[in-house]
Assembly symmetry: C2
Homo-oligomer: 311 residues x 2
């Protein structure tokens, strides 16, 4: 059913279905001071001329700087750059302190280790409601061989390959390619198929995946700090604070204290939801593997891989 009377929370939730990468856009003030902000509103526009766009909220500290800047650089972040993304998503703070960066010929900051970089000259600035739409002509590009960061459902992620679902076993035996025998492809498929089932269960219970992650992190040893929750849920601090306020409204979590001393814990209602979903998840996992013994064996092997490949 279409919803014509929607809140900005409803809109944000619907928009979060559309996955994006995460970028940091940088420029400089007239005096040369660097400015930068995290943006997921980036996209490509044109090949000839090469154009890209992003949008900046008009109330942002640096909105006027970006609007009048002649040049800016867009950095597409790699999957290990969530801390940088969080740092540049904060308003006001000195985002460049402690960040090693160079500048290009136009004095625009270049952040290292991004998955890709687009050095742009401003081509047009368009009206976009509470945002400015900034279109840049790409002057230079750079790519790094790293896994890009994905933002989906309001949380950080990476892209997992979609592979054709396991065909009929007899067909598979006739046409066994090397790829089907690789661990990573089987990990990816097993993850996707199990996650599809479990995530549908979570959503049917009336929770978003983000809310489930927060509730699961608030279960057990609590109360927790915002920092602990950021680390455990991979949701950025700003999104997390908004989410937690909404979850308090819904009677799912308790917020105590203020400022840096704020502590979060689950309500009885929230904890009951988590326990019910854990139980359902356990059943789904058992059905997927066959029995408890095999499930534990698989879990042990996966944890071994996680430990051995962690750098």
């Amino acid at each position: 059913m279409s919803q014509t009377n929607f809140s900005s929370r409803d809109l944000r939730n619907a928009l979060s279905s559309f996955a994006t990468g995460v970028t940091i856009v940088t420029s400089r003030e007239d005096d040369g001071s660097p400015v930068g902000m995290t943006a997921s509103s980036f996209n490509s526009v044109s090949m000839e001329p090469p154009l890209v766009l992003w949008s900046v909220t008009k109330t942002a500290h640096s909105a006027e700087i970006f609007k009048s800047a002649k040049h800016f650089n867009v950095h597409v972040l790699a999957s290990d750059q969530t801390d940088l993304s969080n740092a540049f998503a904060k308003s006001g703070a000195d985002k460049f302190s402690g960040v090693e960066y160079k500048t290009n010929d136009h004095g625009i900051p270049i952040l290292p280790y991004a998955a890709a970089r687009f050095e742009c000259s401003t081509w047009a600035v368009y009206e976009g409601g509470d945002h400015w739409i900034i279109v840049g002509e790409v002057q230079a590009i750079e790519r790094q061989p790293t896994e890009p960061l994905v933002f989906s459902g309001g949380a950080y992620a990476t892209a997992a390959s979609l592979r054709p679902a396991s065909p009929d076993p007899e067909e598979a035996a006739k046409d066994q390619s090397h790829v089907d025998g690789l661990l990573i492809y089987n990990l990816s498929r097993a993850y996707r198929q199990l996650a599809d089932t479990f995530h549908a269960t979570v959503r049917e219970s009336g929770l978003s995946i983000r809310e489930w992650r927060v509730l699961a992190s608030l279960h057990g040893e609590t109360p927790r700090t915002l920092n602990e929750l950021t680390t455990r849920t991979f949701i950025n601090p700003r999104g997390l604070m908004e989410l937690l306020a909404n979850m308090r409204e819904a009677g799912l979590c308790i917020i105590e204290g203020s400022g840096d001393d704020t502590r979060y814990s689950g309500t009885e209602k929230g904890n009951e939801q988590v326990e019910r979903l854990f139980a359902l998840s356990g059943k789904q996992e058992q059905a997927a593997v066959g029995d408890d013994e095999k499930r534990d064996q698989l879990l042990d092997l996966l944890q071994l891989v996680v430990r051995n490949t962690h750098d």
Copy 2:
């Protein structure tokens, strides 16, 4: 190193680092005939008023229709809608034949089963080089509890949760949450960490991940048709044809025949690269699990999960 003298292929490759969702945008001609096209250039713009944008190539069959349309609907596709995405990415064909759809009050097609839908009135159309940038004001939204489709590195994917990397084992024992014992989170982490390593190896060999997938699919039983490759690589037909032409230039694949009879196979050089990468992958997997016996055990259990959760 920045590249200031880049081809449109270089630009496309760099842009493919930025993940997006996949949408189908629909509208209608004056006579009521439905039009629709696949677009990944969608993004949110403004909350107040609620604005979104996408861009349409000026040479598209339906560009003038979208440019002058008063209303359009954006459908954010779910992960099981790759066939629909491919169908609406073709030019010319009768895309709506065989597709069940309704229309809203403005006569604009509504496609079922999307992860989210935004029913929009056209708010502005901006100049964007070889594209029009179309800004819509959202009039109605709808969400479905399904996993959204992701487009990353030029191929279809889903989002895999980023979870904090495995902490120091002693810390983990003290702070063992339920989530750490779920199969899906361990599958996701094991996948991500192994894939990060292997994908870096692929990129260091000079191949993109897409090229690797195509080469791996051309290894063994060949020649293959475009359809077979689309199914095996999860790259859309248009992107795949462009990629295969580039790979032929690079001496990696052979293209024989034409039209529907076109067949693709790997060159000796391409096959050698695949075999070298398979060998490296085998070593990485062995290092990750410890020994061959455990690797085979893990593979068996994963394939069991894949079979049991396949619908």
